[in-house]
Symmetry: C2
Subunit: 297 residues, 2 copies
């Protein structure tokens, strides 16, 4: 498999817009709005995980590319809708005005809807390309189904619902973990699973990497919460202290900075341990979680 | 094929909620919000068209049921998002308060997102059930792809975009037809095509029925516009004159009542003519468009 994050990132960035369905000139504003958020400088963590997981299991990243693009469309739609006035009401995202600040709330809502639809259009279309090999086709259908479940009402949407419902309420640590596991974790775990399935992973590898991805998701979120308290708006690209402003309970507000840092380390170590048996092959994933758990933006 | 609209309606209504992915008790409000709009008394025109088209082509309605449910989820999501304050800002839909009036704008946005995701989850899952018969599987993949295109950025979403962009502007008849063809027409045509493909229709039948469905879509919209001018809030289940309030150009505001009624008749007649060669088999579709073009609510 490829060695560096940037190699996967490049494949994704070179193809992300090309995989969008062709847009009618009459819908140029919609396209602009979708493109605005797609190219606003995200880390591309989910699509990179998806392609790297495919190669980890023995497949080629290119095979996973349509699903990687679809995953980034889904992630981007969720950010656009999350930022809306009716949800988190954020003005800044990745250092830039949020989608609805630039295109208006109606167009931003439709840009999100358009991205979600496009994700499924890309995946459905891709099935035709793999129709003549039943084993391969089954992997592709499986990957698509994994992604729909991760994004849907038992995955990410459930997390978003619990997130807005728990604002201004006492939120237990159990509920908080539920929110994180679904809102952030579902797409991360879904990306890893979809990639593994496409690459032909066995059950043991799927189980191991699911633990890895779950820990990565929670560690990522705790680091995010820590940065919200410790970071500055400039470093984070969004307004620091936004969680406190929204009276949002975070892992840090529940457990304090010190305990959160400890939990972050434990989760990271556990993830590193579970993939230890894959030796050098797992180096990409080892480096990734170590880097993410120490990131400063 | 079955003879009456109500027979198809019953199959749909008996299954519509059961096909939703199982919801976590923590997301019960989301489920309630989705269910509220799904059971608010729609005509079920799209899923009925889908199942009837499948039987018209020689298939069984039951085979088309997952796609019929998915289509109704997609239609319902589009209504919920259309009614949002950032879009049409409607308080009433089918005689009941709109989703965001009951559940709040954030939850309504997520209920829409949840329904759209569920549509794709249902269709993806259904592919596994048909995996062992390649010909059958190809029909199912094709139906799913037709539905994703009809719902997406070159279909319904494009129509919604043009619709909000054309508010408060001079809107040509050409643009108005573009909006209708996409916003309302795309899902109606997509329903017919998906059903036909599932039933194994040949190209001639697909072409004929596409003309039928396109005319049905436009005729339906003109009738809607006429009722908005002529009807009462009680009859329509939404605020009459809403289009004028939104300064929305409609077929009727552009061409007057008399010309609109004439166009409605022409479209209906053309649709009836194009399916004439199917004799008695087309009676369902003949009756349907005649009934819809004269409907009073």
């Amino acid at each position: 498999m490829r060695e560096s994050y940037d190699e996967y990132l490049k494949i994704l960035n070179d193809n992300l817009l090309d995989y969008l369905p062709p847009v009618d000139p009459k819908s140029s504003t919609l396209y602009d709005a979708m493109k605005y958020s797609l190219t606003a400088g995200g880390k591309r963590l989910r699509p990179v995980l998806l392609m790297a997981s495919c190669e980890f299991a023995g497949g080629k990243a290119e095979k996973a590319l349509p699903y990687a693009c679809a995953m980034e469309y889904i992630h981007t739609y969720s950010l656009i809708h999350d930022d809306l006035p009716c949800m988190d009401d954020d003005d800044l995202r990745r250092g830039k005005p949020t989608n609805h600040k630039v295109y208006g709330v109606g167009m931003a809502t439709l840009a999100g809807d358009g991205l979600l639809n496009s994700a499924f259009e890309v995946m459905s279309k891709n099935l035709f390309m793999n129709f003549d090999d039943p084993d391969e086709l089954k992997r592709h259908i499986n990957a698509m189904y994994i992604i729909t479940k991760a994004a849907g009402i038992t995955g990410m949407v459930a997390g978003q619902v619990s997130d807005i419902e728990s604002e201004h309420t006492e939120c237990s640590e159990e509920m908080l973990e539920y929110i994180h596991r679904n809102k952030t974790g579902a797409l991360l775990v879904g990306s890893v699973k979809a990639g593994l399935v496409l690459g032909g992973a066995d059950k043991e590898m799927l189980d191991d990497m699911t633990v890895y991805a779950e820990n990565l998701g929670l560690a990522y979120q705790i680091r995010d919460d820590l940065l919200d308290v410790l970071g500055s708006a400039e470093e984070m690209g969004k307004n620091s202290g936004a969680d406190a402003q929204h009276e949002k309970v975070t892992y840090v507000s529940l457990n304090g900075v010190e305990n959160s840092e400890k939990k972050l380390k434990e989760l990271t170590q556990e993830a590193v341990n579970v993939i230890e048996k894959y030796y050098d092959n797992a180096e990409f994933f080892r480096n990734l979680i170590l880097k993410l758990s120490e990131r400063t933006k």
